[in-house]
């Protein structure tokens, strides 16, 4: 970079390896950056360190057996991942799901969305250098995890849904506890804003960085919050309703700035909307009924292929299944939002300061398990 004050000192670009072991890459993700001073000239994401070959494994597993594997794709929102697989197979087979199971699914998915956004909120602030919020976020997430634990017996990898319904009915008193939690979180959320959103340092730190246009977002196949922050009003729950989302009233938060701050606010607003959905779903929850529909004992979808997409916390989560009429998929493909959203990172990092790097990477909200599949 030619400067008006040429000193004659020889400078050179430096290649810096960020990751795979680095505190703010959220897992084993590696970023090779070429920096000139503290300005990033080029950034090359390198991934695959957590590649477990889920798609290959799935080809040798029956449909029900794949469900626990989906837990481990995006381990921060296992419920949504469970759902997308079940939803794909159910679509393929034309199965109908009992009412109660649909309610349970929506409830756990929305709770999981809240949990996932809370983790994002905490870790993002951690990236930015504030330690406190992380623990507050985890305190509230803990309640959700405990509720899930009661429901499914696991804290992180729930393996809760089944093709045709859910595995377990809500234990007695669970719905009341969930209601209690929703009310609690509703009253707690404003404190999040008090703690962080109003902070001058925080605002000036992430305003106007990592900005891209709607066109960029569409070109790079961005979805979820990454797309909505550019002004596109699009939420699959609203626009292509699946499950019973069409029964609930909620808004889709949209921003137009396309920067890190707008993504921050959108995620917090999504928590509010999830709370709205939860309130309605918990109120309308049918006490009676089956949680498993009538499904063939051996799940053999017909020959054909299916692609479904749903709104996961990180964006558009899709599953493609090519079936040959057997009990195992011929081809199982996950459209992972983290993986696709991450593609815009090199473009966003070009020419920015090193200290913005983590803020931008964090705002994409990736889960490396999902990036690497």
């Amino acid at each position: 970079m030619p400067t008006p004050f040429s000193t004659g000192i020889r400078t050179e670009e430096m290649v810096l390896n960020i990751g795979p072991q680095h505190p703010s890459t959220h897992g084993v993700f590696r970023l090779v950056v070429k920096i000139d001073g503290e300005t990033i000239k080029e950034a090359v994401p390198v991934m695959g360190y957590l590649h477990r070959g889920t798609e290959k494994l799935a080809e040798n597993l029956t449909y029900t057996q794949i469900i626990p594997y989906t837990d481990r794709i995006d381990y921060l929102s296992s419920m949504t991942n469970n759902y997308v697989l079940c939803h794909a197979v159910e679509t393929l087979m034309g199965l109908s799901i009992p009412e109660k199971a649909e309610f349970l699914r929506v409830i756990v998915m929305e709770m999981n969305r809240i949990a996932s956004h809370l983790v994002w909120w905490g870790t993002y602030l951690l990236d930015i250098g504030a330690i406190g919020p992380f623990l507050y976020a985890f305190r509230d997430r803990e309640t959700i995890i405990n509720l899930f634990n009661e429901l499914s017996g696991a804290r992180l990898t729930y393996n809760y849904m089944r093709i045709g319904g859910v595995k377990w009915d809500a234990p007695p008193g669970w719905i009341e506890k969930a209601k209690e939690f929703v009310q609690y979180l509703k009253s707690e959320l404003p404190n999040y804003h008090v703690l962080v959103s109003g902070n001058e340092i925080f605002q000036s730190r992430i305003t106007g960085i990592g900005t891209y246009s709607r066109q960029d977002a569409l070109d790079h196949s961005l979805s979820g919050v990454m797309l909505r922050c550019t002004g596109e009003n699009w939420d699959i729950r609203k626009n292509e309703p699946y499950s019973i989302y069409d029964r609930f009233e909620f808004d889709v938060p949209v921003a137009t700035e396309g920067d890190c701050l707008s993504r921050y606010h959108l995620r917090l607003q999504e928590i509010e909307q999830s709370i709205r959905i939860l309130e309605q779903a918990l109120d309308q929850f049918p006490e009676e009924g089956e949680v498993m529909g009538k499904v063939p004992k051996v799940i053999r979808p017909p020959v054909g292929e299916v692609y479904v997409r749903i709104e996961a916390p990180r964006g558009e989560l899709g599953v493609y299944i090519a079936s040959q009429g057997k009990d195992k998929p011929w081809r199982f493909k996950l459209r992972r939002p983290s993986f696709v959203n991450l593609q815009i990172l090199p473009k966003l990092l070009e020419g920015v300061n090193m200290s913005n790097m983590v803020a931008i990477l964090g705002s994409i909200d990736i889960v490396v398990g999902e990036v690497d599949a």
Partner: protein, 343 residues
């Protein structure tokens, strides 16, 4: 579906099979099928009975007829054993997949025997899946026939059924025939329009096939000729009437005799979607890259290249993305063998 439930299955199956065998004196193939059938049809109280599946599982091409044969044989056995209740249960197990077509057959079946069962089936049969038709339809159809056959003589009937099963199954492997029978899809006008616009511009030969994929939320699907793909892709995005500005998904599938790359597009402008499939050979798998059109195709193409070995000419940086750079082979190929056994 639990483990405990699964265990009793083999005995019951065996019992059912034995009854059937004794009574029907069916041919050898029919007998094989019986075991399977009992497993899948009487499975309701017994659990999945997966334990038997591997042994009895014939190779891919032969596999499809099996359920039907099974069903037929099992039904025969059941009819003989006068296990009407079981038959009903079995019917229920499959009805959810049945479709109008199946209903008709089921009605016929009802005449022959289990009227009550068929009624239940017909009721349960809702907006059904095309592909499912033949499977489920065959089941019932087979049962009905089996009932009749049991009265006459079993062996010949079983053979006929098996033949029928094979016939209808070949039909099932393609989705279109049944799709035509059903009322036209809500997305049919979209598909017609896409096809019309594309043929106007690129000629008829550019599109190999077009249909509504009823299994996949009725998405209009086009099968595009490989050599026309890049031009069409460009057109799909830029043509004002189409404007597929968003590439939702891109991946490859290995069908053993061919490779396919599957694209799912969405237009935020017009709010319509489209699935595109492009075929290529396994040996020289190559589909032109669309990264210059949708930047979001970049990593997806790299992943497809990495895992399936499909080349994307025109991609700026087509290197492995998931596997290490020095990896040998493409793991998602069906004939993939790990190079290093130790790994």
């Amino acid at each position: 579906m639990s483990e405990e439930k699964r265990k009793p299955t083999p005995e019951e199956k065996a019992a059912a099979a034995a009854v059937a065998r004794a009574k029907a004196k069916a041919a050898k193939e029919a007998r094989e099928a019986q075991a399977n059938a009992a497993e899948s049809d009487t499975g309701e109280p017994n659990g999945e009975g997966r334990a038997d599946a591997p042994q009895a599982e014939p190779p891919i091409e032969k596999r499809k007829p099996t359920p039907e044969e099974k069903a037929a044989a099992a039904a025969a056995a059941m009819a003989k054993a006068k296990a009407a209740k079981e038959a009903r249960e079995a019917a229920n197990g499959t009805t959810s997949d049945a479709d109008p077509d199946a209903k008709a057959k089921a009605a016929a079946a009802a005449k022959a025997k289990a009227a009550a069962a068929a009624a239940a089936k017909a009721k349960a049969a809702r907006e059904a899946n095309a592909g499912e038709t033949s499977d489920a339809g065959m089941d019932e159809d087979a049962k009905a026939k089996a009932a009749a056959a049991a009265k006459a003589k079993a062996a010949a009937a079983a053979k006929a059924k098996a033949a029928a099963a094979i016939k209808s199954n070949t039909g099932a492997s393609s989705v279109e025939p049944t799709a035509e029978e059903a009322p036209p899809s809500k997305n049919q006008p979209y598909l017609d329009r896409y096809v019309q616009i594309l043929t106007e511009r690129f000629g008829k030969e550019s599109i190999e096939d077009s249909y509504i994929n009823r299994l996949s939320k009725e998405v209009p699907t086009l099968l595009i000729k490989n050599e026309h793909w890049h031009g069409i892709a460009q057109f799909l995005k830029e043509e004002p009437a189409l404007q597929f500005d968003y590439l939702s998904n891109l991946h490859g599938v290995d069908y053993e005799d061919r490779m396919e790359v599957y694209y799912h597009f969405y237009s935020y402008e017009h709010h319509h979607s489209l699935a595109v499939k492009v075929k290529t050979t396994r040996e020289n798998a190559s589909v032109s890259s669309v990264t210059d059109i949708w930047a979001g195709a970049d990593w997806n193409e790299r992943e497809t290249f990495d895992l399936l070995g499909i080349d994307f000419p025109g991609h700026p940086n087509l290197v492995r993305i998931m596997m290490p750079d020095e990896w040998i082979g493409h793991p998602l190929r069906k004939d993939y063998e790990p190079f290093d056994e130790g790994v």
